[in-house]
């Protein structure tokens, strides 16, 4: 048994799972900051983002060291390659939560969102956070079925995101251009966040099956 090597591989997965948990917390707080105009919470999300950035740098360093020193193959190789990609997705998720928090801070003490779209964002926030927590579970359990379910759950966010365009394009939209831009950008942030969570889940399917879902083959 290459004991130290397998401990390193486990550490790599642990690190990713921890990042998932961090970006889920970040989006949960950012959404609350957005909905409640909570400046303190927004500030916390903004300052905590560096933790996720550092975790990503650590994961990359670990992955490179494993590639350079251990020449992993088969499942082990897929773990390392998937970790490199997943760490990038997770860092982007952290950044998107950061953008939401910054929008809340920018408009403070005024609310960013007009009342009629508030519930949409509350819902997108909920789904995004759930997706990130599921991604954490999938990283820990390598459960392919659970990973595939994440992909289906992302549809709800896509639907809301699309619907927001019809709301702001309505000729009777009373809140002006600045609010419309905020809603457009924020909607996009939530939609991207969910997409990255799906991408992380797909990487875990790749680790287990050796095939990326959705790219040719029968596994899509």
């Amino acid at each position: 048994m290459r004991e130290a090597y397998h401990v390193e591989l486990d550490n790599l997965a642990d690190n990713l799972a921890r990042m998932s948990s961090q970006v889920a917390d970040a989006m949960e707080r950012a959404t609350r900051a957005l909905l409640d105009s909570d400046l303190k919470l927004a500030e916390q999300v903004i300052s905590d983002d560096s933790l996720v950035d550092n975790a990503r740098a650590d994961s990359e360093e670990q992955a490179y060291a494993l590639l350079a020193l251990q020449a992993p193959v088969a499942t082990d190789l897929r773990i390392v390659v998937a970790a490199l990609h997943a760490a990038e997705s997770l860092e982007r998720m952290g950044d998107l939560a950061l953008h939401v928090a910054k929008a809340a801070r920018r408009r403070h003490p005024d609310p960013v969102l007009p009342a009629e779209v508030r519930d949409y964002f509350a819902r997108m926030g909920e789904v995004d956070v759930r997706l990130a927590r599921r991604a954490e579970d999938v990283i820990r359990t390598k459960d392919v079925e659970a990973a595939r379910r994440i992909e289906a759950d992302d549809d709800e966010v896509d639907d809301i995101h699309r619907h927001l365009f019809t709301v702001i394009m309505d000729k009777d939209w009373p809140h002006g251009v600045a609010a419309a831009v905020d809603v457009t950008l924020l909607g996009r942030f939530y939609e991207r966040y969910a997409d990255h969570a799906v991408s992380v889940a797909r990487r875990m399917v790749f680790v287990v099956t050796g095939r990326m879902p959705g790219y040719g083959g029968s596994d899509s």
Binding site: M1, A74, G210
Partner: protein, 259 residues
């Protein structure tokens, strides 16, 4: 040249002891097939049945079939010496004939096969073989010197030149780099990639990265259990074996998850 080998249900015995059981595989011409597996699993034993060297051990024998193209290598009346001239072998430790010159080492097989060759013909074959083994430039000015004066890596290439001088159809290599440094190893690996244009190459190696680098197809041998015979667990394209092998035992072995 470059013939296909077909093995069918081969059982290999040392006297009453069944060392390897039930091997079937097809080895494609103009390719490198690597055999990997833990020590004692029978991969070298298997290799030596392909040119009928196994039976040189007293009491050793096989059941099953080995074909080279359409020729049944174990049919009655087949001359094992003839088989060995068609299927060359390179061993773990370079074994040039120590008292012979570099030139005579390469020419040894031709002389043994008692072909009457003119000196100029022999010169040509020696040069061609040494060039094919990527050794010519290094030794062309000292052909009459003893082969044992060369470095380990050069000696191994000399043995390869000796093996291909008789123009075999197949080249078997039993851990040809395990006694060599990384630079000589790379020279031999480069050579294998050149030689596979013309030969069928089968290599036994303990170096899995070497199997991954040089071979087109990889076969994994393992013991069925303590005191049990060795068997071929899985054979497939090398990329498949090292990315998504079908058998868990293969994955465990290549990932270092054993014991």
């Amino acid at each position: 040249m470059a013939k296909r080998i077909e093995v069918k249900d081969l059982d290999i015995y040392y006297d009453k002891f069944l060392a390897v059981q039930g091997v079937s595989m097809t080895i494609q011409p103009r390719s490198v097939t690597a055999l990997i597996g833990p020590s004692g699993c029978g991969k070298s034993t298997f290799l030596r049945t392909l040119n009928r060297m196994h039976e040189l051990v007293p009491g050793a024998r096989v059941d099953g079939k080995v074909f080279m193209d359409d020729q049944d290598l174990y049919a009655n009346g087949v001359d094992p010496v003839k088989v060995r001239s068609q299927i060359g072998m390179v061993f773990q430790r370079p074994n040039p004939f120590p008292t012979m010159s570099i030139y005579d080492n390469v020419a040894a097989g031709l002389k043994l096969n008692s072909k009457r060759l003119k000196r100029s013909e022999l010169d040509d074959i020696v040069e061609r073989s040494l060039r094919a083994a990527n050794l010519w430039e290094e030794v062309k000015d000292r052909l009459p010197k003893p082969g044992s004066g060369l470095s380990g890596g050069q000696q191994q290439r000399l043995c390869i030149a000796r093996a291909i001088a008789v123009q075999p159809d197949v080249l078997l290599m039993d851990e040809p780099c395990s006694a060599l440094d990384p630079i000589s190893t790379q020279a031999i690996e480069d050579l294998m990639l050149e030689l596979k244009e013309r030969y069928t190459i089968v290599i036994v190696t303990h170096n899995m990265q070497q199997a991954a680098r040089v071979s087109d197809v990889t076969g994994f041998f393992n013991l069925r259990g303590v005191g049990q015979p060795g068997e071929l667990v899985e054979i497939d394209e090398t990329t498949k074996i090292f990315s998504t092998p079908s058998k868990k035992a293969t994955e465990d072995y290549i990932s270092g998850r054993f014991g």
